[in-house]
């Protein structure tokens, strides 16, 4: 399946990308799965998205948890804890 992935703030700067279109392998069906898939790229992906990093995630512009399902066509976002207001 295909998903759009967005990166924001410090995380965007670390991976050097603000958005990409991804074709996911069959086994990836949750946010946790997608994150592992990206970490497996190694390098900046591994360091920016490592399990030990506080990363917030959203699916279709709604805050979501690691176990949340993702479906073809979804807009997924990774970002640091928010600091607005």
């Amino acid at each position: 399946m295909k998903v759009k992935v967005l990166y924001f703030a410090g995380l965007r700067e670390q991976v050097g990308s603000s958005s990409e279109e991804l074709e996911l392998p069959a086994g990836v069906s949750t946010l946790a799965g997608l994150r592992s898939h990206l970490v497996a790229r190694g390098g900046v992906w591994q360091s920016a998205l490592a399990e030990t990093r506080l990363v917030r995630m959203a699916v279709n512009q709604q805050m979501a948890q690691a176990a949340s399902a993702i479906r073809s066509g979804d807009e997924v976002a990774f970002f640091p804890p928010v600091t607005g207001g």
């Binding site: 959203a58 512009q61 709604q62 805050m63 804890p81 928010v82 600091t83 607005g84 207001g85």
Partner: protein
Amino acid sequence: MKILVQREDFDVGAEIRALAGHARIGAVASFIGLVRDLNDGSAVATMTLEHYPGMTEKAIEGIVAQAKGRWEVLDCTVIHRFGELKPADQIVLVAVASGHRGDAFAACEFIMDYLKTRAPFWKKEQTPQGARWVEARATDDEAAGRWQRKEPGAA
């Protein structure tokens, strides 16, 4: 109800006047957040606010809907800026109109606390030591957490 995410500054007096003007309103509580020239011990020259267009508006709508479910909110305005800001610039306005002051204060503070921890905005400061992303504060999570403990049936 009015929710705006914009680059432009806003006029607090005009926004408060524009709240639904009917005479059931006995209380208007409002909050303005401003850029400080000193944060975590460093001078701040400018600040850049990044956001997630589309999601920010939805997140704020969701927070306001929660506030309306918990308190009497007769009208409400939330404006949050993004882009480059200088010290003393206005960042955010939350104004809540209600029949009584307890509801107005609680809803206004709740919206601010949730906005700080749940709306996708990120601050980057330019300081003499270089640019840095502002770190999320544990105290902001605690401030937001207070409201959960008050929810009936919550752990």
